[in-house]
Assembly symmetry: C2
Homo-oligomer: 340 residues x 2
Amino acid sequence: MEIVGIDIGGANIKAASTCGFVHSEPFPMWSRYDNLSEALGDVLRQAPPTEYLAVTITGELADCFETKDAGISHILNSLDQSDPRTARVYCTNGSWKTPDEARADSSLVAASNWHALARFTTALDAAFDESAIVLDIGSTTVDVVPTVNGQPVFDGATDVDRLENKSLVYAGIQRTPVCSIVNTLPFKSRNAPIAREVFATTEDAFVILGDLPEDAGNMDTADGKPRTKSASKDRLARMICACPSEVTDEDAKLMSESIAESLASLIAQSINHQQSHHEVDTLLCTGHGGFLLPRIQEKLDTPINVSSLASCLTSEQLRCAPALAVATLLQQHFVAKSIT
Amino acid sequence: MEIVGIDIGGANIKAASTCGFVHSEPFPMWSRYDNLSEALGDVLRQAPPTEYLAVTITGELADCFETKDAGISHILNSLDQSDPRTARVYCTNGSWKTPDEARADSSLVAASNWHALARFTTALDAAFDESAIVLDIGSTTVDVVPTVNGQPVFDGATDVDRLENKSLVYAGIQRTPVCSIVNTLPFKSRNAPIAREVFATTEDAFVILGDLPEDAGNMDTADGKPRTKSASKDRLARMICACPSEVTDEDAKLMSESIAESLASLIAQSINHQQSHHEVDTLLCTGHGGFLLPRIQEKLDTPINVSSLASCLTSEQLRCAPALAVATLLQQHFVAKSIT
């Protein structure tokens, strides 16, 4: 039985099915929450018809919602209006709720994608050891989830818990303000203190370094100008209050290296923390930020086996992995129920 | 002869005259640059009629402009269209340019307000020693300008130079993203790593601490909701991915204390740097962030005499001090020319 999964986040809607369908759309929840129903409908109409829809939600933290409860309710109501499938909502302890149950008690429903992804990933990779860290490097956040026998160690953890136990790093390869991860940037052999202003995001560094592709039609950037190397260079120039005309391509590359190293350090610190608290010797890497792995590995205290899902999933599936994860887990759930 | 001064910044337009007129308006240059001429006209029509207009410009760094030159030209062209007065533009070495001269060579014109303010401030305060640091704590940036005999030490410095020599701290009491000045926030006796996202700004901390007034009609906040203690608390909650309903007023106060201390530390580091490089024993404080002084003083390596302009200027004049500074300096310039 094919199942479609959907990951309704604060910046993107991602969908995937157990039989190969994948689709993702940018969706800035904070400004477009009133149009969520239409946006979900647009995505789900492209998906194959299925009886069940597996749902994971992270968009409830968007600042358009007064509380997480209000966010969960709005998201589930929008989903009700957009699609006729029977929805099941994934929880941070691995259980499933109906939409009504989820609205009644949202505590285990908020931000469950990391849990689903960790279970899915460990099950998928036959080479993995009994204990592994699942590393998901995304546009806005990074999950660093220790697992034992395929089960996440931190069952039921909220995002606050996960920030504290370092299994969530709230920084990523695209949307993160540069001013939130560096204090200085190299510029013409000097070390320039930065402007604490959102003139640029991490995406600019990775476009300049060639890790993310240019996309001249994409204006979802710090200044609303194109996602090109040239415009990214201008944005980085402003981070040190320089005139864009003063900053060469080579200057911008050095700044970008420094930003990439800072982000890699943040992630490596979390992996080091998990390694010192849990016996794990494999790192299973997913998400679309795999290009950061070599920089991260250089900064680890203890060597670790690295395995990337890139070998068994397409790049679009990697990007939508949490949606694929809940679809697959719901399918397994039904199979298990039919056996017992 | 009365003269009107205008400070055309990236987020505000401020005007003041040598005979007591003061007016400021928020003006987000990055989004409203096409309406700059109208906005300048609105402000200047309220000012008394004068022959001369003294101008200082800092808005050229706004990311709507390809280069600083382009920014200076756009700003001066908009000013030409908005007001019939004869304009003189203040330079970072204390000289004056006509608008045509400024357009032809903008290198000394960009970001000159700190220089004017330092000269004005040292001349105003009769109690000051021969050498002083002029400290201007603003919404977005802080100037920490060492002066000798009333003259700024760093004549002709650009913003890049000033970030490096620590006479410019690009962080302030209102618009600065919280994620750019702290890595963790205290929460229920824990130390919570933060979300690297612009969920809150420094203004939220100071509204909660009572240092800045509530203003329910002001929606110029991180989430577009009101500038009230209650909404500020919600914004701070999101900084650690907490649900606003989980965070008490007391929790929010402790977070705010931590943010205020971080900002004060950044400023104190710059003052310590100037004190170790220049013989200065007085701190002349202006801007509307004077409430931060006690926190800053606690963090200084060497005690320093503190003198606040609050004793000789109104709070509105303090806020518009760079505009008042260029008006006063142009008046002095004409007096000096008439004598020689």
